[in-house]
Point group: C2
Chain length 304, copies 2
């Protein structure tokens, strides 16, 4: 049985998935009603869809009728209304998949509307840039339809990881991941804009990336957390000097100042003396210690 | 001829270098006058030095007399006075190497004191955590003695890269690198403290690190800059939602808020419309464009 997939919205995320699913044998359709593309679709847009073997459909109802799986891939602000409107057209045998970058609470609201119709909801999160990974982008899925999504799409080449927990469990992980990915983008841009001003952009790019290319990122991340316990205070002081250098190059040290504050927060917990004597080599021990010290410092009503 | 290396200060940096240089055949000595270790050295400290085949010396003058190369590896606040005091003991045939994390201006002041004695100055910067790389840690060197440093220490196993430019050229690169490395530490700690609160620390660690382990960091860094041009505005909006989620977990979104501001800066340059039509795939083009737009927006006296 050919799986019939209907995309609501046809931007980068949908096109990336379509580029993998089409050749794998899925029947693809799309419906758009955005700022740039809406029925009657312009010729250029029809050609782009046809190049990916995607048939454009003129109504949401028509798309829902012709699909086993509906995939919402729209602008974040449209995710909730599109979810509510789509739910009205859903049959109990259908999957509704939301790939949008919206808050866990929004995912839960859409899930409620979908499951109220007897259909199953899938929170699907792209855990990487479509431009880097293509259709093999890691997809984290949660919700009542997550297992079925994995069963049906893994054979079609998608890279699916099942996340247990509430309907929005994958969205929570995506948000936490975005702290790091967008944060890294911001620190890299800040450093490289300053490096350009200093006339050493290529040298700085090499200095920043070559040592990172030589190690596994997961080892680096573990080391960040375990060494934060020991060196956050010293590094916060170093960041004052780093901030002066960046500012001296005419660039506002936004990320440098924030990193200094975050390192001061770590140092201020008093975790280093609390851990004295034990060699803490497991990042999870550091997180447990930070959490305990932070709660003790600012007792809240629900802490015992 | 055995190379005689004298360490001023004997903390992690000095011990890491000693661990490589000793077995490679250098004669190692050290002098300390810090908060914890000063002559007469405690037995425990003598044993730690002896285990690395390092002879402890009781005066800075004695260390200088017995060394071909003096390496200053002290607390940052001590770097300038140690440089000034050491200079008084230097002979013209000696190298003075400063590995401390201090501002380029401080390195220049030390370089001036050293070269005034006829000796040669080396600004040597550890471009990675000693704990991760050991004695093979990438060392960037600049200054009047940089070439000699590379010639003498490369055969002893050190990983030396020559940086042309002023005496402090390596320090400037280290500072720019610290924007990224300490910034990444801060975003990873912020995300993982929040993940611990959400009860999903192991899942978040995997979600953050697995996709990064699958790609080269340098490719990621290039993509960050080129995609910042196109998506900074949308991502800044996403960071509002991310901040709400982090705050909702009881963690102050310090890095998230800063990243949102940095992304808004990028978006506010108007670089996307300025680049319309051209596909910008080279990160250096993005930096050039950002620099031009930023200077045009806030004209300064020295811009034409």
């Amino acid at each position: 049985m050919t799986l019939r997939v209907g995309f609501i919205g046809f931007g980068e995320a949908a096109r990336t998935l379509a580029g993998g699913l089409g050749p794998a044998g899925a029947a693809l359709r799309a419906y758009c009603r955005g700022r740039r593309h809406a029925p009657p679709y312009p010729a250029e847009f029809r050609q782009a869809a046809a190049a990916l073997s995607v048939e454009l459909v003129d109504t949401l109802e028509g798309l829902a009728r012709a699909s086993d799986v509906l995939v919402s891939a729209v602008f974040p602000e449209a995710a909730a209304p599109v979810g509510a409107e789509s739910a009205r057209h859903l049959r109990p045998d259908q999957l509704f998949v939301d790939v949008n970058a919206v808050a866990p609470a929004t995912k839960e609201a859409i899930a409620a509307a979908v499951t109220a119709r007897g259909a199953r909801f899938v929170d699907a999160e792209l855990m990487g840039a479509a431009s880097l990974y293509g259709a093999a982008v890691p997809l984290y899925v949660s919700g009542s339809g997550a297992e079925e999504f994995q069963r049906r799409f893994t054979p079609l080449g998608l890279n699916v990881t099942l996340i247990p927990g509430p309907a929005s469990a994958a969205a929570t992980l995506k948000m936490l991941r975005s702290v790091v990915t967008k944060g890294m983008e911001a620190v890299i841009v800040e450093a490289m804009v300053a490096a350009f001003r200093a006339g050493v952009a290529p040298e700085a790019f090499t200095a920043i990336t070559e040592p990172m290319d030589a190690i596994k990122f997961s080892d680096f991340a573990r080391m960040c957390i375990t060494s934060d316990l020991l060196h956050a205070g010293r590094r916060a002081v170093e960041m004052e000097t780093v901030g002066e250098v960046v500012r001296g190059l005419g660039v506002e040290p936004i990320m440098v100042d924030a990193a200094r504050r975050r390192l001061l927060w770590s140092a201020g917990l008093g975790a280093r003396p609390a851990a004295e004597g034990e060699a803490v080599t497991d990042y999870r021990e550091v997180l447990r210690l930070y959490d305990r010290l932070d709660r003790n410092r600012f007792p809240t009503e629900d802490s015992s």
